[in-house]
């Protein structure tokens, strides 16, 4: 222990901490989120293009791609790979649809020990549930106004 440091004023201490603490790696985080998120999207586009190539309608092809990405997110979570990716990619692993299925599997595993119905079954949508609640609610509210406006024009 350095006695000099113990007799510091508050201001000195704040300066000292700021000096010693690592610079927030905000640009590194940003670049990784951009890269990983962008790559998930490219995978989604490639899958869509492949199914379109096999004469699926654009909408159907994109839905199949979504299902595969959802599967991928769930699978990578169950073998413990997704959480490792998340440590580096941050929002790049949360924002894509794979992050949505990751949130389901991760919470489901966490609560599995509390039983299959009230543990796994009840908690799997602990994080993803709000997304569906707010998504559907907002779409119905928006739809209602759209319907209302359409009545008058």
């Amino acid at each position: 222990m350095d006695f000099e440091k113990l007799s510091m004023t508050n201001e000195d201490y704040i300066n000292y901490v700021q000096q010693k603490s690592k610079k927030s790696p905000i640009f590194k985080n940003l670049a990784l989120a951009f890269l990983v998120g962008g790559l998930f999207c490219i995978l989604g586009q490639a899958l869509t293009d492949i199914f379109e190539y096999f004469n699926y309608e654009k909408k159907v092809a994109s839905t199949i791609a979504t299902i595969i990405l959802v599967f991928l997110g769930a699978f990578l979570t169950s073998i413990n790979v997704y959480s490792k990716l998340g440590k580096y990619a941050g929002a790049g692993s949360i924002v894509p649809i794979t992050g949505f299925s990751n949130s389901i599997v991760a919470t489901a595993i966490e609560y599995k020990s509390e039983g299959y119905i009230l543990g796994l079954g009840a908690n799997m949508f602990k994080v993803a549930g709000p997304v569906i609640v707010y998504g559907i609610t907002s779409s119905v509210v928006i739809g209602f106004f759209y319907w209302l406006i359409k009545l008058f024009i």
Binding site: N29, L30, A33, F34, L35, G37, G38, L39, F40, C41, I42, G44, Q45, A46, T48, S62, T63, T66, I67, L69, V70, F71, A74, F75, T77, S78, N80, G90, A91, G92, I94, V95, P96, I97, G99, F100, S101, S103, V105, A108, I109, K112, S113, L120, M124, V127, A128, P130, V131, I132, Y134, G135, I136, S138, S139, V140, I142, G143, Y146, W147
Partner: protein
Amino acid sequence: MLMEYLKVFLVGGVICSIGQILIDRTKLTPARIMVVFVLMGAILTAFGLYKPLVEFGGAGATVPISGFGYTLVAGVIEEIDKIGFLGIFSGGVKATASGIAAAIVFGYFAALVAKPKLK
């Protein structure tokens, strides 16, 4: 073709970067980030601003969770045009049904087979 994929990468990357900025600056939890993105996707779609992004960036705009909001609202509007009032309620879930079902089923089985992490 390469150009198309570059656009996908760009749009998807920028959307995820916005999420990263939110995480770093506001300390929002992942659940809140996802809700914010779904709401943004739905609202932007309502004002006709998300569709151009989908046309420009393809999967770059539909793979992020904001695309879920887009699909919901686009589905509701399409169904209202087709069948009227009932479409308000049926359109969104109809358009996203396969994604939600896939998330439930794959999520369930993945959690079932996974071994809980030893801490």
